[in-house]
């Protein structure tokens, strides 16, 4: 009963779901809940009649899925070729130093999380970062602190 409540919206959107719906379902859950919890993985497993190990195996294969909540401000750094050539490694480095976290982690105060993207596809404007989906084009290391400060100030 409880399980149906937790993933009720999934069962509604994907009636008679099959294995081929697994990835869309996981995407839907992550969009709604921010990450994939153990409980939802187990629930989905029961719904799709799939062992949890298979779901976890699929979810860890793709870059998109997370198993921990993200920060309030989710920072994505593009590491495509064009961005790399234009210095995205340094941008990432500065972000790591400033936030004291590695990609895939969230700051202790839950404010920022960092993610590396293979390529956003805005190569003409490299290097690019995105904060909660808002793009910053042509970012240089110096700007990073400024951008972070903006968001920190919003919290005060």
């Amino acid at each position: 009963m409880k399980q149906e409540n937790r993933i009720g919206y999934i069962m509604e959107k994907f009636p008679d779901a099959q294995r081929e719906n697994l990835i869309p379902i996981l995407q839907e859950i992550q969009e709604k809940e921010g990450y994939l919890s153990r409980q939802t993985v187990a629930d989905i497993g029961r719904y799709l009649n799939l062992p949890a190990s298979k779901i976890y195996g699929v979810a860890t294969f793709y870059n998109q899925f997370r198993f921990k909540p993200v920060g309030k401000y989710h920072i994505q750094v593009c590491r495509g070729t064009a961005c790399h050539v234009k210095g995205s490694a340094a941008v990432l480095n500065t972000l790591q130093q400033e936030l004291k976290i590695q990609p895939g982690q969230t700051t202790r105060d839950g404010l920022f999380s960092l993610e590396v993207l293979a390529c956003i596809g805005a190569c003409g404007l490299a290097p690019v970062i995105a904060v909660n989906g808002e793009f910053y084009a042509g970012v240089q290391t110096g700007q990073v602190r400024k951008i972070l400060k903006e968001y920190r100030n919003q919290e005060k």
Binding site: V41, G45, P51, A52, S53, Y56
Partner: protein
């Protein structure tokens, strides 16, 4: 038929078959690491690559079909260089601890390294480090030694239908693990150990009880008793280089004595006991119209599987403990009294073809009066190691005799080692129970063989008994699903976790090929044919046990020691 050329030799080949099949038939050996007979090729290891004329790159022989006129070179410089490099790459990401490894001398990677003469560590990236998973009572997972061939994942999914483990992450980060990289103990793993059998390296191995057993053997205070499962005597010889299918019961008993065991008993004895109890339970359930079909409960992997995946069937499981546990129980609570031995000094060891038996031995539901029925379980492989370590020359050992009373068995009990054997033993005794006399034809051919599911409707004295034998847990799932959907013609189902039964169990020698399994199966049928006592109820020791102690099947005493119940189990499936 088409014709192809292998290393300059023209041979015939079947259209559609893979290069590897053709090579094997022609006696040309190409190494493989991920290939599994009977399953679709995975193409992961690439070590079977050969050079095909006209193709730029190398061709994986395991997956590529033969074509008319194809010219194959299995050992061209290019192919050999590639194989060598692949082995070097694997070794570069592998701990350098062969001397300390359980698979030392019995490892496919080590063999290949030796075969291709790898003499230096050419590639220098640090090997990936992982935590060892020792959480399971049966299986140790040492990811550092994993070469990601994927055989364990495929066995677990495609053969067993369990899927406790899968590939996790990607690229050089890849590992094989249960969901959320948790320990195997909280996963859906049923401890069957088929993955251990499939593993080419030391990444998966049984949790060894050797040290505990050796300590007990060294302790003069301890009264160390051993029981050996029916499947051991027809496989142990393979560990000593004898060709498969030889029964070495006598030599094995002598070896066990020389190792220092105080008593050598036969699990087939308690298999006979199980048959009496289980057949009685079946007849009772049919008469009283209780939960049917009755499901056998000898196979501990199967029990765990029902508890976690088909909890609605736990009441269908026979309440009989497995023969291993029954023998342990009567040993500790009957034999000790009879022989006036302090129960606290008794150390009960079981030699099993199975890793799940290690898990079974430590289940609280399967102890009696708070005392474990069985203290340690050794696999066939561990026993062979112990025999070698103690310097016992196995070949030429005189035939030893088992101890009385629990060394006495019928050939029906011995048949527990093979799929369909429990059913056959049960049918022989059920016939006697219902009609009062033995079946004129003791062999029930309908339940023999290696087919996935074998069903029969047997008439005994006007009563139709619907029976089924599930060879391997995946086939059992098919039956249970049918029953869930309303099928109701079955009264009794035998399930063995491992396809083939205990003769192909996860504790058996590493090189268990289909032809080995066939030979072991034949050896058991031969024993049965030769024997005079072919039904469990005619086992004199069992009769004596009832007379002296248990009184009758399903008595209060037998409920106390020989029966248990199961319930739903929560795991991170």
């Amino acid at each position: 038929m088409i014709s192809i050329e292998i290393d300059g030799r023209e041979v015939k080949a079947e259209p559609g078959e893979t290069i590897l099949t053709a090579l094997n038939r022609e006696g040309v050996h190409v190494p493989t690491l991920c290939h599994m007979e009977g399953l679709l090729p995975s193409g992961a290891c690439r070590i079977c690559s050969v050079e095909v004329e006209g193709q730029d790159s190398l061709t994986p022989s395991c997956s590529y079909p033969v074509q008319d006129g194809m010219k194959i070179q299995t050992n061209s410089p290019k192919a050999v260089k590639a194989r060598k490099t692949i082995i070097e790459l694997l070794l570069a990401n592998h701990p350098n601890d062969c001397l300390y490894c359980v698979r030392n001398g019995n490892c496919q990677l080590q063999d290949l390294a030796e075969l291709y003469g790898i003499r230096e560590r050419r590639y220098l990236a640090e090997p990936c480090k992982h935590k060892m998973d020792v959480s399971s009572p049966s299986i140790i997972r040492d990811q550092d030694k994993c070469i990601l061939c994927g055989k364990c994942v495929r066995i677990c999914e495609e053969i067993m239908g369990v899927s406790a483990i899968d590939f996790v992450k990607r690229g050089s980060q890849s590992v094989i693990a249960p969901a959320f990289e948790e320990g195997m103990n909280v996963s859906g793993c049923i401890n069957c150990g088929q993955c251990v059998l499939a593993c080419p390296t030391g990444a998966l191995r049984e949790k060894s009880h050797l040290k505990e057993v050796m300590d007990a053997l060294q302790d003069p205070q301890r009264f160390v008793v051993v029981q050996h499962a029916p499947a051991i005597s027809v496989t142990l010889a393979e560990e000593f280089g004898v060709k498969p299918g030889k029964d070495v019961e006598g030599a094995m008993i002598s070896a066990l004595r020389r190792l220092g065991f105080d008593r050598v008993f036969d699990t087939a004895f308690s298999a006979d006991l199980t048959i009496i109890e289980e057949a009685t339970e079946l007849v009772q359930r049919i008469k009283q119209n209780e939960r049917l079909p009755l499901l056998t409960s000898c196979s501990p992997g199967w029990i765990k599987f029902v508890e976690q995946t088909y909890p609605d069937f736990t009441q269908n499981l026979s309440t009989c403990k497995s023969p291993q546990q029954m023998l342990g129980a009567v040993l500790k609570h009957y034999y000790t009294q009879k022989e006036d031995i302090d129960i606290n000094n008794v150390y009960s060891v079981a030699i099993m073809p199975c890793t799940a038996k290690k898990y079974e031995a430590q289940r609280p539901e399967l102890s009696s009066h708070g005392i474990a029925d069985v203290d340690a379980v050794l696999t066939t492989r561990e026993l062979a190691r112990l025999i070698r370590m103690y310097g016992i020359q196995f070949e030429g050992l005189p035939a030893g005799q088992p101890n009385i009373p629990f060394g006495r068995r019928s050939s029906a009990g011995k048949m527990f080692a093979v799929t369909g054997g429990v059913m056959e033993a049960a049918l022989r005794t059920a016939h006697q129970m219902i009609t009062g006399e033995n079946s004129p034809e003791p062999e029930f051919k309908q339940v023999r063989g290696l087919k996935g599911i074998r069903e029969a409707h047997i008439e005994i004295d006007g009563m139709t008994l619907g029976i089924a034998v599930a060879n391997g847990i995946q086939n059992a799932q098919i039956l249970l699903d049918q029953i869930r959907k309303g099928r109701d013609d079955l009264h009794f189902i035998e399930v063995m976790t491992c396809p083939g039964g205990c003769i192909a169990g996860g504790g058996q020698p590493f090189d268990t090929q289909p032809q080995n399994i066939h030979a072991r199966l034949q050896a058991l049928y031969d024993i049965d044919r030769r024997e005079t006592v072919r039904t469990s109820h005619e086992n004199k020791a069992v009769q004596q046990l009832y007379d002296e102690f248990l009184q009758q099947p399903l008595s209060k005493k037998s409920h106390e020691l020989l029966h248990t119940t199961y319930s739903k189990r929560n795991v991170l499936l």
